[in-house]
């Protein structure tokens, strides 16, 4: 499907039919997800495809039993954890060396990334850096973050969201729709996935074929002039 059509026909669906999604469509959407751009290519995201009947039932409850979750053919939980930079780092160093990237790029992965992803116990290192940048910032432009763990989480969540958009568009192109859910019990979702307390649940995506009454009307956006500004 044409990109424009996929974007224009994608809708958040509250009720799905009982039609299944072929495994190939799910795998293709997951492949599309990981092609999204992401912070320094550190790929700090995780995609939990919840397939077991038991876990799915638990997840529906953790999603406050909302109809999109209850009726979904498939459920995907996307988590983000800045600490995942460690998982990718050796791969990334090998990659930039193999492609013969310029020296500053290799050093970026070898030196700057470990420095950037450090916030320290109770963020002491992050706050120290923040203060240092604040002073340096008087004289010249400086990056103002990320400093604290929360800044790093925000960055990881942002990258994961980009991947989620690729995922839902890819399913839309395959004839399925989705609902990106943020109304869930994050503690319970983490527990049922068996992930760490530091894994942030970015969203739970419900997917399937939309029922006829799957939305409560046509799509709506506020006027473009409220949100687009030419400077």
């Amino acid at each position: 499907m044409d990109l424009k059509t996929a974007i224009q026909t994608r809708r958040s669906i509250r009720r799905f039919t009982t039609d299944p999604i072929p495994e190939s469509a799910m795998r293709e959407a997951l492949s599309a997800a990981v092609l999204a751009p992401n912070s320094s290519n550190t790929q700090t995201w995780d995609f939990h495809w919840v397939r077991s009947t038991e876990k799915k039932a638990e997840l529906v409850k953790a999603c406050l039993s909302q109809s999109a979750a209850r009726t979904a053919a498939e459920l995907l939980v996307v988590t983000a954890n800045p600490a995942n930079w460690r998982r990718s780092n050796s791969h990334l160093i090998k990659w930039v060396r193999d492609v013969g990237a310029p020296k500053p790029v290799v050093q970026y992965y070898e030196k700057l990334i470990p420095y950037m992803y450090r916030s320290g116990w109770l963020n002491w290192w992050g706050y120290l850096r923040k203060i240092g940048l604040w002073f340096a910032g008087w004289a010249r432009p400086v990056p103002r973050g990320p400093n604290t763990l929360r800044d790093l989480e925000e960055m990881a969540i942002k990258s994961a969201a980009l991947a989620c958009e690729n995922f839902v568009l890819s399913l839309a192109a395959a004839g399925f729709q989705t609902c990106m859910m943020e109304g869930f019990d994050e503690h319970r979702v983490r527990r049922l996935l068996g992930v760490s307390r530091r894994d942030r649940v970015v969203m739970v995506i419900a997917a399937g074929k939309p029922q006829e009454n799957g939305t409560w009307g046509p799509q709506f956006r506020v006027p473009m002039e409220l949100v687009v500004h030419e400077v």
Copy 2:
């Protein structure tokens, strides 16, 4: 262009040629951006298309003069501010009433949204709610947030990121590429845009035609099995 091709050919470009992007391609990409799903459809995002030569030069400096910014044909700054819910709310209430949405949906916009977007001075209300939810969460699944201003910002940034992905894919389909930049001086970017201290700069997107040496090699991702988990 086909969605799959757009996703597979999109690359983060560090150097652009001097070729311009037609205004129509930029406008179409902005239209695609606002069609992204977003939290409760509150559209708390803003898209600042920086077109004036003077502001562009300032923005390049605020982006630490990185080559993607320096060589870009167009620069877009995407900001997010949870307080923007107020801007959308009357439109949304009118919309759900006009389409005859079920009563709980109308109440959601009339009652729950104003409640949800309240964090209070120094987040006192947010922390109070967080504690309440923690107790309630012992007995049953509860949404654990958003509570504090930072939680609300995180939600707004997540939605804005979804829009950014639509934007870059749309430009890719039109034959242009982009670089999502997070390395910038957030204070200076805010100042040059004349936006409030509460507007969070989600990313600056550089766009144009890629130079031949616009990337430092083929795309790389860590093995799928590291990031995709079947549960």
